[in-house]
């Protein structure tokens, strides 16, 4: 329910950034409204923006204060594992990292999504096909150790990257329900387990 209310409120709001050109924004809104349709699980309301999405939709990033405000807000969305266990099975984590499927209008269900991690990150010693939109995470656990603060930060980053960088390119895997808690635990194991190819040659 939380999401729906947010969306409804936002549709009506005209953000400050557009104050200078309300006509232009009205035209843009009309264009977006007329140009998209619902197909499969990709409903038309996906085109409506959340407030931070809107703030991060310009050529330049928002002000530092605005970024900080968004980050504080997003930080509140992070849910840490209730059982206190952060690590699943790194082998399953590797599969999730490789899998870039999910949530498109050609996907049948909104479940069983991949993490698509390799689209943007280098992760393991043996996978040569990795993207560079995000930083290399090679030897993530090996170089960072597994102290509690590192583990919790990493969980938070996977759960909602916007809590640490308001306009991060990284999806909110937990907050936007892209991955389940269990899947994120598998990814954590993939990143931290000494036996995982992320850390072991």
């Amino acid at each position: 329910m939380k999401k729906i209310t947010t969306i409804a409120a936002l549709v009506l709001a005209i953000p400050a950034a557009w104050a200078a050109g309300e006509d232009s924004y009205a035209d843009f809104k009309a264009m977006m409204d007329a140009s998209f349709k619902t197909t499969g699980i990709a409903a038309k309301h996906r085109m409506y923006q959340l407030d931070f999405q809107k703030a991060c939709s310009q050529e330049k990033q928002p002000s530092k204060a605005e970024m900080a405000r968004i980050e504080a807000e997003q930080l509140k969305t992070i849910r840490y594992p209730a059982d206190g266990k952060y690590f699943g099975d790194w082998k399953q984590g590797e599969k999730i990292a490789l899998d870039g499927r999910g949530l498109t209008w050609t996907d049948k269900t909104p479940h069983n999504n991949g993490g698509g991690c390799y689209n943007c990150h280098q992760l393991s010693h043996h996978e040569i096909s990795y993207g560079t939109i995000g930083p290399s995470l090679l030897e993530y656990g090996k170089t960072r150790g597994n102290a509690e603060d590192v583990v919790k930060y990493t969980w938070g980053k996977i759960y909602n990257a916007k809590a640490f960088n308001a306009c991060s390119n990284m999806p909110r895997n937990g907050d936007a329900e892209i991955l389940t808690e269990q899947q994120m635990k598998h990814l954590m194991a993939f990143l931290f387990d000494p036996a995982s190819p992320v850390n072991k040659k």
């Binding site: 409506y48 993207g131 999806p171």
Partner: protein
């Protein structure tokens, strides 16, 4: 050798800025190998097969009016195909709209042949009239291969479309918070092994806009620009853009304007 265009220099330069040193050497070798692969594919682009069908279709009387498209005005006068797609999108007086190649072809199909545009708009990719559209597009863009992009941005409607396209480019939405700029708003990035042109720059825009439509080897399909943009939105996890809708025209105007003056290599051949 039509392929080397964007790749080598851009990739290597930008890789320097991103990757740690150890990964860099391996990455360079990888990209060299991938570039070798692409060069081997450049000669013998199956788009030629599609273009040949398109040329035949262009000349074939079809539709309720049993007319060919030979009198179609793509902006350079009735029947002029050579160089036409390099100057699209443009504002057309007769329709009062900015049109890209595909929406303009729909206009011609409707006015000359009596074919209902909805037969294209509501069809699935590479089926029925959309398959015909792809063939026609392959033919038309082949006739602009090697020509410089030259879109006329002076008309107010074009200016407006550019601005709308720019807003769309940065518009983040959907469950993954992606915009076009997420992947195409930085230098030298890639998704897995696929380099991403920085579409904010002229070089990036010509690498992207200038080499689509293209044959995609991964699925053996010829993709028009509408198809390309549609799949970008699919991967962004947004809702689906309607075929030929203004958002697709606006983005096309934005990209084509950025690419202005660069050389078209169409149809391209892609992964």
């Amino acid at each position: 050798m039509p392929i080397p265009r964007r790749l080598k220099a851009a990739v290597m330069l930008t890789a320097l800025a991103v990757a740690p040193v150890a990964a860099l050497a391996a990455g360079d070798k990888m990209m060299d190998a991938i570039n070798e692969y692409r060069e081997l594919l450049a000669d013998g682009n199956p788009s030629e097969l599609v273009a040949a069908q398109g040329e035949e279709l262009w000349k074939t009387p079809r539709g309720p009016k049993k007319a060919s498209l030979e009198q179609c005005d793509l902006g350079l006068g009735p029947g002029v195909v050579k160089g036409a797609s390099a100057q699209l999108p443009r504002f057309f007086k007769d329709t009062g709209k900015v049109q890209d190649l595909e929406t303009r072809l729909m206009t011609c199909m409707e006015t000359l042949q009596g074919i209902d545009p909805n037969k294209v708009i509501n069809e699935r990719w590479l089926k029925g009239e959309r398959e015909n559209m792809a063939a026609l597009v392959a033919y038309v863009v082949t006739e602009s291969n090697g020509v410089k992009v030259k879109v006329d941005t002076r008309h107010p409607a074009m200016k407006k479309m550019y601005e709308l396209g720019k807003q769309t480019f940065y518009y983040r939405a959907g469950p993954m918070d992606f915009s076009c700029a997420t992947c195409h708003g930085d230098q030298g990035k890639r998704i897995r092994m696929q380099e991403l042109p920085d579409l904010r720059t002229h070089e990036g825009a010509i690498a992207g806009w200038g080499s689509w439509p293209a044959y995609r080897v991964s699925n053996g399909q010829f993709w028009t620009m509408q198809h390309r943009l549609n799949d970008c939105f699919r991967q962004q996890r947004t809702a689906e853009p309607i075929y030929g809708s203004d958002v697709t025209i606006a983005l096309s105007v934005y990209l084509a304007t950025k690419a202005n003056g660069g050389k078209m290599v169409t149809p391209g051949i892609k992964r």
